[in-house]
Symmetry: C2
Subunit: 201 residues, 2 copies
């Protein structure tokens, strides 16, 4: 019995993941203008099953976004553990641009109207996890003198604002910049915005 | 007859303005979750009249946003005509923060998924008008040596990204910064991001 329920739970998690993969494709192609039956069709799963997983399409948008931030936090966390100081900052920026190049187009359609710091202050889990990766990097840059001592909340806000997925997609599609150039240029702009005296990249 | 139609047109424009004023209040209070009958009630105007002005609530959102950008472009244009160089840049930043402090909360609920440069490149009228105010200021700063010579499209993108209304509302509400401090700090961050060597404000 225990093995059977574990199997059912695993099937259920796999179905949910498959639905969120299809939601990502639909969001990238046509934005938020799709219904739960559209999602069922796109994933090749019955509508009845889709309704067991999601109450409405807004829940799909939210879950897609949460999974995406979870994956981003996981990716940035791994990169962050491997370096220190300026190299750590640059490695995070490079990886962030590479991640957003993959799912950025879908993500531009899902955006909280609530500010980043407002979500951090009310301890919203995905936002707080992202803040938890970025804030120590800012503090380290201030300690080693790369940037002047400053308000960590403001500095993290500048960082996430410049790495907005709409900005990254715009640079890739409107200016045809390769991902590496996007990461390097945005990282130089963020450092400049935070008072680093070096020339921009 | 001619006088009578001009009067009708004026009444109609006044009704539309009044509806958009009410839409701004509703957006600020409860986001996009309102219907055309809700808007009619809030404005004290019959539903039939509202339906003569707008096909659906999405059209209300769009018109609200267009009017807002029109007003912003008018305001920034006036400020821009009065100064040159760094003082012109600072005056625009101050005014922008002051404008966004008024309507920012409502505007955070309305946001194009399409990038700023993508809209400029397809000559979207409100976006192009805003670009038309900001681009010459960037070019002037590069000419007088305040910032290094650089890609104007990228520089304007950095500027509008940092002056995102969600950022301005977040700084006002989460960090309780006064409008003047928001304008000054964001303007110093934008200059720093564009390679100006000075210390941030």
């Amino acid at each position: 019995m225990a093995r059977r329920s574990a199997g059912i739970r695993r099937d259920s998690a796999e179905t949910r993941d498959r639905l969120l993969d299809s939601a990502a494709l639909l969001l990238g192609e046509r934005g938020t203008a799709f219904t739960l039956p559209d999602l069922a069709r796109a994933a090749g799963i019955s509508s009845a099953t889709v309704y067991r997983h999601f109450a409405d399409v807004q829940e799909v948008h939210r879950e897609f976004y949460y999974r995406l931030i979870d994956e981003l936090v996981g990716d940035l966390g791994k990169v962050s553990a491997r370096a220190r100081g300026r190299r750590r900052f640059d490695a995070i920026c490079d990886r962030w641009a590479a991640c957003a190049a993959l799912w950025g187009r879908a993500a531009t359609h899902i955006r909280s109207a609530e500010g980043f710091l407002a979500r951090v202050h009310r301890a919203d889990p995905p936002t707080s996890a992202l803040y938890g990766i970025l804030a120590p990097v800012i503090e380290e840059l201030a300690e080693d003198g790369t940037i002047p001592a400053q308000d960590t909340d403001y500095a993290v806000l500048v960082w996430i604002t410049m790495f907005d997925e709409r900005v990254i997609v715009d640079l890739a599609e409107s200016l045809r910049w390769p991902t590496k150039r996007i990461g390097r240029t945005l990282s130089a702009s963020v450092l400049g915005a935070l008072g680093h005296g070096g020339a921009p990249g």
